[in-house]
C-alpha cells in the first residue's frame, strides 16, 4: 500500500513542475499577455524541463541538489499560491477541473507499477544512463559506458531525478514523470479553459484510450518527443500575430528539449524551426533571433558532449556515414524503397493519430480558406515524410531489420504533432452539430 501512496504522492510532486515558477492563475506577473491556466502550466513545464536539463549537464552528483530543488519549488509554490496572491475559490474550481487528469494519471501509473517490464532499448541504454545519475555519477561519466555515446541523456536524467526523490526508491517512479507529461500534454491539447470542460474531458479520455499501450512507458524516450510535439502543435495554432512572441519563445525552448531526448530529435526540432521560418505571423527580425537561438542550441549540445569526452554522441554508434550515402546507387535505392514504402504505409495505417491526421489535413485543405495552422501542418507532413525516407535510405543497416525495429516508433513520435489538429477538428464538428 505504501507503493500506491507513493504513486499518489508522485502526482503532487510532478504538479509542482507545472505550477511553479509562473503563477498559472495570474501569469501577468511574469508575462505581459493573458494566457489560459493550462497554457501557463505548459510554459512552466517547458521552463522547468529546461532547468532540469541545465542541472543535468552540471558535473555535480544528483544527491547533492535534487531534494533541495524540490523543497525550493515547494516553498515557491506555497508562497505564490497561498501567501502572495491566494484565490481559494479559483483553486477549488481548478481542483475539480483537474480531478479527471488525476484519475487518468493514477490509472496509468498503476499499470506502469504493475507491468514493470522495460523496453529493449531501455535495458540497453536508458535505464543504465539513469543508473549513472542514481549512483551519483554525472553526464561526463557516461563516456565510460560502452553504449554511453549512443543516445542523449535527458530522458534518463528525468527518470533518475524523480526515482531518487522518493523515500522508497523504485525505478518506475521516475518513469511516471513520462506518464505525467503525456497526460498533461493531451489534457492541455484537449482543453481551452475551465468552461465547457465536459466535452473536452470526453475527448481527453477517448484520446488516452486510443493512445494507451504500456510499452510507451517502458523507459523508451519516444513518448517525451510525442508529448512535446503535441504541446508545440497547439502553440502553432495560437500563433495569430507577431505579438505572440511568448509562444515563439516556448516553441524554441521545447525544441531545445526535443534535441536532448533522442538523436532524431534534431530532425523534429529542425522541422519545427523551419515551420517558424515559413510563418507569416512572425516578423523577419524575430526569425533571425529564432535561427540564431536554434543554431546556438545545437552548438551548445555538441560542445557539451565534446567538452569532456571528445566524443560526439550523435555521430558515434549511429549508422550514418557520408561515404555510405555517396556510394548509394540507383538500384540499391530502389531496393530500399521496396521495403520502405509498404512498411511506411502499413505503420501509418496502424497509427490512429497519424492516419487521422492525414485524413483531417486533406479535408481541411479542401476548405475555401486555409488558415496558417493548416499550412504549417502541410509543411510538417511533407518535411516529416522526407525525414523518414532519408532516415532509412541513408542508414547503413540491413533495411528490413532496421524498419521492423524502429519505424513503428518513428511514426508514433511524428504523430504527436497531429493530435491538436484532430482534437480541434472533432470539437468543431461537435459545435456544428
Amino acid at each position: 500500500m505504501i507503493e500506491f501512496l507513493q504513486i499518489i504522492f508522485s502526482f503532487f510532486l510532478f504538479f509542482l513542475i507545472i505550477s511553479v515558477p509562473i503563477n498559472i492563475f495570474n501569469p501577468k506577473i511574469f508575462l505581459n499577455n493573458k494566457f489560459s491556466i493550462l497554457g501557463t502550466a505548459s510554459f512552466n513545464l517547458i521552463l522547468n524541463c529546461n532547468i532540469l536539463l541545465f542541472l543535468s549537464i552540471l558535473p555535480i552528483a544528483l544527491d547533492s541538489y535534487n531534494l533541495f530543488f524540490v523543497f525550493l519549488y515547494f516553498f515557491a509554490f506555497i508562497y505564490i499560491y497561498f501567501i502572495k496572491n491566494p484565490k481559494f475559490d479559483l483553486y477549488k474550481k481548478f481542483t475539480q477541473f483537474l480531478l479527471l487528469f488525476f484519475i487518468i494519471y493514477l490509472i496509468i501509473a498503476t499499470n506502469v507499477a504493475g507491468e514493470l517490464n522495460l523496453g529493449w532499448d531501455a535495458k540497453y541504454f536508458y535505464y543504465i544512463y539513469a543508473l549513472f545519475f542514481i549512483e551519483n555519477q554525472n553526464l561526463y561519466d557516461l563516456g565510460k559506458f560502452v553504449h554511453g555515446t549512443w543516445h542523449p541523456h535527458l530522458g534518463s536524467f528525468y527518470w533518475a531525478f524523480f526515482w531518487n526523490l522518493m523515500p522508497i526508491k523504485f525505478e518506475y517512479i521516475g518513469r511516471l514523470f513520462y506518464v505525467f507529461i503525456l497526460c498533461f500534454s493531451i489534457f492541455y491539447v484537449c482543453h481551452n479553459n475551465l468552461k465547457g470542460a465536459l466535452i473536452s474531458n470526453i475527448i481527453f479520455i477517448l484520446t488516452i484510450l486510443l493512445f494507451y499501450k504500456y510499452g510507451r512507458f517502458s523507459g523508451l524516450q519516444e513518448v517525451l518527443i510525442f508529448s512535446f510535439l503535441a504541446i508545440l502543435s497547439k502553440y502553432f495554432s495560437l500563433l495569430k500575430n507577431s505579438k505572440n512572441v511568448f509562444y515563439v519563445f516556448f516553441i524554441i525552448l521545447g525544441c531545445n528539449l526535443i534535441i536532448w531526448f533522442k538523436s532524431e530529435g534534431i530532425a523534429y526540432a529542425s522541422i519545427i524551426i523551419l515551420l517558424l521560418n515559413f510563418s507569416n505571423q512572425i516578423s523577419r527580425k524575430i526569425k533571425i533571433y529564432i535561427n540564431i537561438s536554434y543554431v546556438s542550441m545545437i552548438i551548445f549540445k555538441i560542445a557539451i558532449y565534446q567538452f569532456f569526452d571528445a566524443k560526439l554522441i550523435d555521430t558515434s554508434g549511429h549508422p550514418y556515414y557520408l561515404d555510405y550515402i555517396s556510394s548509394l546507387n540507383f538500384s540499391f535505392i530502389i531496393y530500399k524503397l521496396k521495403f520502405i514504402i509498404p512498411y511506411l504505409s502499413y505503420y501509418i495505417l496502424m497509427n490512429i493519430f497519424f492516419i487521422s491526421g492525414i485524413i483531417v489535413l486533406c479535408l481541411l485543405n479542401f476548405q475555401k480558406k486555409i488558415d496558417s495552422y493548416i499550412k504549417h501542418l502541410n509543411y510538417y507532413f511533407i518535411l516529416n515524410l522526407a525525414f523518414i525516407f532519408c532516415a532509412y535510405l541513408f542508414r547503413d543497416m540491413d533495411i528490413e531489420y532496421s524498419i521492423k525495429t524502429t519505424m513503428e516508433r518513428v511514426i508514433f513520435t511524428s504523430s504527436g504533432f497531429y493530435i491538436f489538429l484532430i482534437i480541434n477538428f472533432i470539437k468543431n464538428l461537435n459545435k456544428n452539430l
Binding site: I104, G114, L116, I202, Y212
Partner: protein
C-alpha cells in the same frame, strides 16, 4: 433539453473511464502493487531461471553483494540483462566471475529455419557465435521411408546487408537418408568474422530434393563455456554463478 445532453455526456464520460480501467487492467495492477513486493513482481514478470532470469540475478546480487559487473551469458536470446546488476562506478571492469543463464550443456541442437527444400537459414547466428565455439555437425531428417542413398552437395554461405554473398564452405553428404546420421562440419565461429547483420544459409544442391517430405536440417553447436572448467559458486536449475579456475 440541455440537462439531458449534459447527463448523457456524463454517462459517456463514465463509460470511457471504465473502458480505460478495463484496458489498463487497473484492478489487477492495483492488487499486485498492494499485495506483492516490488522484487516479487519483477521475478513474476521476468522469470527466476527462465527467459531473462532476472529473479536469479537479483538473488545473486543480494546474496553475494555483487558489485563488480560479472559477465552474463544468457543462452536464450532476450534483451540485455546486465542492467539488473550493473555497477556504473566500475562499468568497464569485468570480474573473474561469470553468470550462465539457461545453460544448455556442452552442446546444443538448433533447427535451421526452412525457407524451401533447398534453402535453410541459421537464424540469430551472431547471438550463437558469442556463446558457442563451432558448428560441430549437421543432421538431416525427413519422413521418407525409403533407404535411398543420397549424394548431396551443401553450400554454406553468408549474405551481408549489401546483399553480397560469401561462400563459407561446400561439403558432400553421402549416406542413407533415413539414418539421420550426423555429418561432421567443424566450422569455427571465430574464423567467420561476423558483423551484426549477416544472414547464414545452408543451400542444398540437388535437383530431386523436392521429392523428400518434411526435410529438416539440424546443426549441433559446441559450447564455448564448459562447466567443468569453472568453479561453481552457486547454481539453480540451468543458471550458474561460476568463477574461472
Amino acid at each position: 433539453m440541455l440537462n439531458i445532453k449534459k447527463k448523457s455526456q456524463i454517462i459517456i464520460l463514465l463509460i470511457l473511464i471504465i473502458a480505460v480501467v478495463i484496458k489498463t487492467n487497473f484492478f489487477r495492477n492495483l492488487t499486485e502493487v498492494a499485495l506483492h513486493k516490488f522484487d516479487d513482481r519483477i521475478i513474476n514478470k521476468y522469470g527466476y531461471c527462465s527467459g531473462e532470469s532476472i529473479g536469479y540475478l537479483l538473488y545473486l546480487k543480494k546474496k553475494y553483494q555483487i558489485k563488480d559487473n560479472p559477465k552474463i551469458v544468457n543462452y536464450i536470446h532476450t534483451p540485455q540483462v546486465n542492467w539488473v546488476i550493473t555497477n556504473t562506478k566500475v562499468i568497464n571492469k569485468n570480474s573473474e566471475e561469470l553468470i550462465f543463464l539457461n545453460y544448455p550443456g556442452p552442446e546444443t541442437e538448433i533447427d535451421l529455419e526452412k525457407i524451401n527444400n533447398h534453402l535453410f537459414e541459421f537464424k540469430d547466428v551472431v547471438f550463437y557465435s558469442n556463446k558457442f565455439d563451432k558448428i560441430e555437425s549437421i543432421e538431416i531428417t525427413n519422413d521418407s521411408k525409403s533407404f535411398e542413398k543420397i549424394k548431396w552437395k551443401i553450400d554454406i554461405l553468408t549474405i551481408d546487408k549489401y546483399r553480397n554473398k560469401k561462400k563459407i564452405r561446400t561439403f558432400d553428404i553421402k549416406n542413407l537418408l533415413d539414418e539421420n546420421k550426423k555429418n561432421e562440419l567443424n566450422i569455427f565461429f571465430e574464423n567467420l568474422n561476423f558483423t551484426n547483420e549477416e544472414k547464414f544459409y545452408f543451400v542444398i544442391k540437388n535437383k530431386n530434393i523436392s521429392e523428400f517430405k518434411n526435410l529438416q536440417l539440424k546443426i549441433v553447436l559446441k559450447n564455448k563455456y564448459i562447466l567443468k572448467n569453472f568453479q561453481i559458486i552457486d547454481g539453480i536449475n540451468n543458471c550458474y554463478y561460476v568463477r574461472q579456475i
